[in-house]
Amino acid sequence: EADIYQTPRYLVIGTGKKITLECSQTMGHDKMYWYQQDPGMELHLIHYSYGVNSTEKGDLSSESTVSRIRTEHFPLTLESARPSHTSQYLCASSGQGAQPQHFGDGTRLSIL
């Protein structure tokens, strides 16, 4: 069973607030990912990291930023939330090579 945790599970917050979505994994995986998923839709990769101090933008442009200071931790930050940021955000991690990605349960974000 994968050990990857996302907090909070749900967040409803007003426009203009700074938000940090947390993602932690205990598997020692070097690679971590953030996806954005609207209800009933496909996953879009917005950020990924291949290891500490490595971050890259994904296929879908996002106003969010990420950091990777520790192997196990990959937080995503929105400096000023807007209603267009309302979505579900999924974090994942994987081991060396083309290994499967293990997913957290997601954060469902609603910006009022």
């Binding site: 996302q6 690679k31 990912y33 009933g40 839709m41 496909e42 996953l43 990769l45 990924y48 291949y50 999924l90 994942a92 994987s94 090579g97 083309a98 290994q99 499967p100 990605q101 293990h102 997913f103 957290g104 349960d105 997601g106 469902r108």
Partner: protein, 115 residues
């Protein structure tokens, strides 16, 4: 460029009936293929994966998938569907190790199960 197509947006089957969810991929070399399942409000759970070898892959929860290179397909099957199988199913393709593990996901197929 890699791509994944799941032609069926929504499928409804009766409980106990067999199931096949279609997945076609586009990739020049040997792909790494995955099927994931997502229950409402949850993350994705890996059902099975294909890297090489036997083209018929067994997964969890009684699912299997068959890799057919000639058809660029990786269809998911289950002989007898249970009501708890109702969920969204995603097919994904990863390229050879040089890609560092990034996956391309299909748009998903929603499975409904009727009693």
């Amino acid at each position: 460029a890699q791509s994944v197509t799941q032609p069926d947006i929504h499928i409804t089957v009766s409980e106990g009936a067999s199931l096949e969810l279609r997945c076609n991929y586009s990739y020049g070399a040997t792909p790494y293929l995955f099927w994931y399942v997502q229950s409402p409000g949850q993350g994705l759970q890996l059902l099975l994966k294909y890297f090489s070898g036997d083209t018929l892959v067994q997964g969890i929860k009684g699912f299997e998938a068959e890799f057919k290179r000639s058809q660029s397909s990786f269809n998911l099957r289950k002989p007898s569907v249970h009501w708890s199988d109702a969920a969204e199913y995603f097919c994904a393709v990863g390229s050879t190790p040089g890609s560092q593990g990034n996956l391309i996901f299909g748009k998903g197929t929603k499975l409904s199960v009727k009693p």
